[in-house]
């Protein structure tokens, strides 16, 4: 259990064999217990299936199941020499782009699956774009269905060239591209016998090499947000989540946007007092010298203080049918804060498929669109650039049916 845990998302066009690849990863790494395999074979026979298809392993959405067998394999982690990977489910159909984004938002690493037979399709490009946008840099590309192109070396090399161009134009440097066949198991975990011309790494080896668990941002300026205030018998306790840097006992912290300052008297988790709290810790903090603090405030040290922004530019992806127009007043949820902002100008609309600037200053952004938007904060809001401190640089915009759009902060403009 000491292998670092990595959340892996598999993206790509829905027909390029993602499910088969996942099945193959789990099957070849022997992650699936034998009894479950037998149950699957039995169920396949019952439903008249002729062969054992790996995609069946993951068919956890069949509504009518004969015999009531359930597939709980998806969450089975698979082990490699270096890591323990948990696969995040990611349906590839266009309709479910919000599912893909939800899944990818939880991922540490990604495998982009492209079929050697069908080639690069719109959804391939779109997924690559979105994956990069979400900041997933640990990415490996699997050129799948090599069996359907006769394991041809030339086809692979030509295709790799094409792919390399696409990925570098997105900002992925030196992408790892691996020829595989999920169906026959070639080069996924086991070295390929039918592609003797290939001397590179298998998919899993490439993944292991590319991926490393992200280090805690303890060196960044201290930031945290106030989740809640509890008033139990020991006095008011602020419940905070530390996002970057280290919160230490005895130091003075600043709350924004109210600007209050206080001294950290106690940091506690149930059952013990701590000297410090690190990124990821959810702790109770007793602070001296403050009045009313509300959920949503951000804490930092005076030396590297977080200041509220008046304006900011963000990359936006619209996830539902709620259009975004100039002048719209929206509620932005970032961290534990909810602040009203106005769309000052929609600067650009990008085409997630061609990666090109589709339109400058479009009138609106609709479902599936990606764009750059300038916002004006109607209430002071604390944010950081996504590339700097991701947790303070990502937000969602709520609509009536839930999350309508997601945003990543590109620039922050502070007016004192």
């Amino acid at each position: 259990m000491s292998l670092p845990k990595i959340s892996l998302v598999i993206v790509g066009h829905k027909d390029h064999g993602k499910s088969t690849l996942i099945g193959r990863l789990l099957y070849d790494s022997k992650a699936i217990p034998e009894q479950r395999l037998q149950e699957i074979r039995d169920e396949l026979e019952r439903s008249g299936e002729k062969e054992f298809r790996f995609a069946f392993l993951l068919d956890s959405f069949r509504e009518e199941r004969e015999g009531g067998l359930t597939m709980d394999i998806m969450q089975t982690p698979f082990k490699t020499k270096r890591h323990l990977y948990t696969i995040i489910d990611c349906p590839g159909h266009r309709e479910f782009i919000k599912n893909m984004i939800t899944g990818a938002s939880q991922a540490d690493a990604a495998i982009l699956v492209v079929s050697a037979k069908e080639g690069i399709e719109d959804q391939t490009r779109q997924h690559a774009f979105l994956t990069k946008m979400l900041g997933i840099n640990q990415l490996v590309i699997a050129v799948n269905k090599m069996d359907e192109v006769g394991y041809d070396q030339r086809r692979f090399e030509e295709f790799s060239c094409e792919l390399r161009n696409v990925m570098t134009s997105l900002g992925y440097e030196d992408p790892k591209i691996i020829p595989v066949s999920a169906l026959t198991g070639e080069n996924v975990l086991k070295k390929s016998r039918r592609m003797r011309w290939y001397n590179g790494l298998t998919l899993v080896e490439a993944l292991d090499e590319k991926v490393s668990p992200s280090a805690l941002p303890t060196d960044k300026p201290m930031r945290g947000w106030v989740q809640d205030v509890y008033d139990f018998d020991m006095g008011k306790i602020l419940v905070c989540k530390i996002v970057s840097g280290t919160l230490e006992m005895g130091k003075e912290i600043v709350f924004q946007p109210t600007g209050q300052k206080g001294l950290v008297k106690k940091i506690e988790m149930f059952g013990k007092d701590l000297r410090k709290a690190e990124p990821g810790d959810s702790v109770g903090v007793l602070v001296e010298g403050i009045k009313e603090i509300a959920r949503g405030e951000v804490i930092s040290y005076s030396e590297a203080q977080m200041l509220p922004a008046r304006e900011f530019v963000a990359e936006i992806i619209v996830l539902t049918d709620l259009e975004m127009r100039n002048g719209d007043v929206l509620t932005i949820r970032l961290g534990t804060a909810e602040r009203r902002c106005r769309v000052q100008t929609i600067l650009e609309k990008m085409d997630a498929v061609s990666f090109a600037l589709e339109e400058k200053f479009p009138a609106f952004l609709k479902e599936g669109d990606v764009g750059k938007v300038r916002f004006v904060a109607l209430e002071p809001i604390c944010l950081e650039r996504y590339s700097e401190i991701p947790e303070l640089g990502r937000f969602v915009i709520e609509g009536r049916k839930g999350t309508a759009s997601a945003g990543l902060v590109l620039e922050v403009c502070i007016h004192a």
Binding site: D42, E45, R46, G48, E66, G67, G68, L69
Partner: protein, 230 residues
């Protein structure tokens, strides 16, 4: 006359596996809806006597229940031979062993394979007895519980049922005799509950002569058999 009593044979699987010898010239389902519970002994006893025997056979001791020849359609024949027929000539030791292993399975003390091994062994014994008797009696009534016993534990597993139905199809093929009136009949059908098999409210029948029966009750066959015998 030849009667193959194949416990739990189900029309759907007979059709699915295309068992032509089992289907014969006319085949269909039987109606056992008059019975509150589809108990094997009750159904065969009712088949033999032409009467609904449910009230007369309590669950306790049902396997030991025995009819007298005069109560059954066997009386219409000069030399009837009944092999392992429930409520009449059950080969008790074999069935006791099968039921013991069934219970052991549910107590997690035996595997499905162990249970099935005994069922197939008993089946082979009955087959031998059947083929020794063919041609020597004017009625050969032979009972096989293969589909029922294997089905209880594995009806949901098609490959296992395929094996069973292929075996019964071969049995029917070997027994085929154009001149001798042949009835193949089951007491009830089966449906899957997960991997297991539960009894259903329709049995199976088939004849090597067209009689135009329309979802007959299992108790109707008494008169049919009497008619052919006389």
């Amino acid at each position: 006359m030849i009667i193959l009593a194949l416990d739990a044979l189900d029309l759907h699987l007979v059709k699915k596996f295309n068992c032509k010898s089992l289907m014969q010239k006319e085949c269909g389902q039987t109606d056992i809806s008059e019975f509150k519970l589809e108990r094997t002994v009750v159904l065969w006893a009712s088949f033999l006597t032409g009467k609904n025997m449910e009230a007369e056979i309590p669950v306790k001791g049902q396997w030991e229940f025995k009819l007298k020849k005069e109560e059954t359609f066997l009386k219409f024949f000069n030399s009837p031979k009944a092999i392992d027929v429930p409520a009449y000539s059950l080969r008790e030791k074999n069935h006791v062993e099968e039921r013991r292993l069934l219970k052991a399975y549910f107590d997690d003390k035996a595997s499905v394979e162990e249970h099935d091994r005994v069922v197939w062994k008993n089946h082979e014994e009955n087959k031998k007895l059947l083929f020794q008797s063919l041609g020597k009696f004017d009625l050969v009534l032979s009972y096989f519980d293969l589909a029922d016993a294997v089905g209880h534990l594995s009806f949901g597993i098609l490959s296992k049922m395929k094996e069973v139905y292929e075996e019964l199809e071969n049995l029917a093929k070997r027994v085929k005799d154009e001149d001798d009136f042949t009835l193949i009949i089951s007491d009830h059908g089966m449906k899957a509950v997960g991997r297991y098999g539960d009894h259903t409210r329709n049995g199976f029948y088939s004849l090597n002569k067209t009689m135009g029966l329309n979802v007959p009750k299992i108790t109707d066959f008494y008169q049919v058999i009497r008619g052919v015998a006389e």
